[in-house]
Symmetry: C2
Subunit: 331 residues, 2 copies
């Protein structure tokens, strides 16, 4: 028997292990045109919290008592589909199942020698693409500008900062521990870092770190850090609203200072970014990211947790900031 | 002796007549290269409230005990400048003075027969240009979309709605009295209107009036109406943050629901709009607006108050919603 994981309850506030259930299943048999996939690596990401709510969003909510899905690297164990051979590696939106069938649609083949397999869940996957396209499509970052990044030690943030440096910008990161700050400045090439957990006045700290003001704020967290960033933006500044992890577990509608007067005074732009809106650009972006990776202009970190049944805990740990870079579960 | 008006105190909360002082002066004599201007019509606008605060914004604050300035239509009474003749009409950013000198820079000549003089303070002035460019540069309004406008009976809002109809859109306006609602639907061609003062649940009312959702929200008021609009936006919707009159008199930093999760979920754009950012487009826009005016595709209202010393009260009345369309003082 093999395992799979379903959403048992819609979490209220912070999710807990009780919201998930590990169930048992037989290994399925592929029919005509199908392939049998064995999961190797499962990506856990903050945005999945949104799909656990029963509300309309850019992707439909997970159904109760049905498997959760996320990006997964899998290997073809048996193929009845002419496009796939036994042993092929693929990435795609797949269920949290040790074994599953697929018709092969919406799967990408992945070569093992291009880069480590897990890179296709992170820097060469949606994470890296998000960083690149968020900066390009909304941030419109230009050489010499100042880029501020929250969640800077996270999977997306650490790539955003590195791309900012490649583009010749001053890059300041915000993260939640001194170790993370060391990491972003020493490993990811950020110019400066601010530990928001040990800072009383974020507005002042950002001002000190960005004496010329902020031109682009790449926001992965929302909430009070967004408020502090907004007050430091330059005229014509752009805010990439990529994530709001600070608010994802809120049960009441969170409140804060109204931002519209700041937008008007400084002709600021704020725009929600969802990588799925730009699917036609994915291929060319992955090519660019792969090249930078080969040239050692980009580096990445990942936190790899072992064991299929650890997926829920790995997901929960995202909200405790326990990951350095991309959080991945090795099955 | 002639009159001029200075800012006596920086208003706290809602401005009052005591914040202004009417002073007396001699009629000045133009020197070499100068012209003597007699003010005919003075524009009062909500954005002036911002300049009464001692804080950095897109234009510097007014100085205490110095004349306030706004858009004024004036006539040349005496000219020592070869570019102007006695009797010429001009529009420009001028002091609240019955008479003043100018070197002629940054003044536009205005022909009396093109349109009524006051039109150059409203529909053919910054007001009309704001409506046009806010929709074009940020709203990017397309035929068949749904346009929602707050402050719909105001100077900017009433032009926004009419342009929306010229562009083949469904247009819904929000205003603060049944009379204003009648006005926007009967006179300004809006499809529907919502009186926010008699509505308990703005979110629901907007939903009813915009069953296909809102593609562009042109916001002149900010605050709770913005919150209600945001929840009704379609994917890829655009919010033109043109004004926030609901917040201008606030002394404490106003708070409200955080909007970043809505931006992310629906890939929404919010952008502050300030007409001065687009000066290079003014001429072509005025040409287009003049043409529509001649073709009777556009109409406008104005509230004309008589008497130079009534300028402060006319300004105060803006915050009571006492104007229909552009508020102008006839000197």
């Amino acid at each position: 028997m093999y395992k799979y994981i379903v959403l048992k309850n819609r979490p209220e506030g912070k999710p807990s292990k009780d919201d998930f259930e590990i169930k048992k299943m037989e290994k399925p048999q592929p029919g005509e045109g199908e392939i049998l996939l064995k999961a190797l690596y499962v990506s856990v990401d903050p945005y999945l919290r949104g799909r656990m709510r029963d509300e309309k969003s850019y992707i439909p909510p997970f159904k109760l008592n049905e498997p959760i899905e996320s990006m997964v690297i899998a290997q073809v164990e048996e193929s009845q589909n002419e496009n796939f051979s036994q042993g092929d590696y693929v990435s795609g939106m797949l269920d949290w199942k040790e074994y599953q069938l697929s018709d092969g649609k919406n799967l990408n083949k992945v070569k093992k020698d291009d880069a480590p397999l897990t890179a296709h869940l992170g820097i060469l996957g949606l994470t890296g693409i998000t960083a690149y396209l968020g900066l390009e499509k909304i941030g419109k970052l230009k050489e010499g500008e100042t880029l501020l990044v929250s969640g800077a030690a996270g999977a997306v943030g650490s790539v955003v900062g590195q791309i900012g440096k490649i583009k010749g910008c001053k890059v300041v990161g915000i993260a939640g521990s001194d170790e993370k700050i060391r990491n972003i400045t020493e490993k990811f090439n950020f110019d400066e870092g601010i530990n928001y957990k040990t800072t009383d006045n974020m507005q002042e700290e950002i001002k000190k770190a960005c004496p010329d003001g902020v031109d682009v704020y790449f926001d992965n967290v929302g909430g009070e850090i967004l408020d502090a960033a907004i007050t430091n933006m330059n005229k014509f500044g752009r805010v990439v609203n990529c994530g709001a992890i600070a608010l994802y577990n809120a049960e009441e509608r969170p409140t804060g200072p109204r931002l519209e007067t700041f937008l008007i005074k400084k002709s600021l732009l704020m725009q929600g970014f969802t990588v799925r809106d730009y699917a036609e650009d994915f291929q060319s972006v992955v090519k660019q990211l792969s090249q930078w990776l080969r040239e050692d202009k980009l580096t990445y970190e990942e936190t790899i947790v072992e064991g299929f049944e650890e997926i829920p805990q790995a997901f929960l740990n995202l909200f405790e900031g326990k990951n350095q870079g991309k959080m991945v579960v090795k099955v």
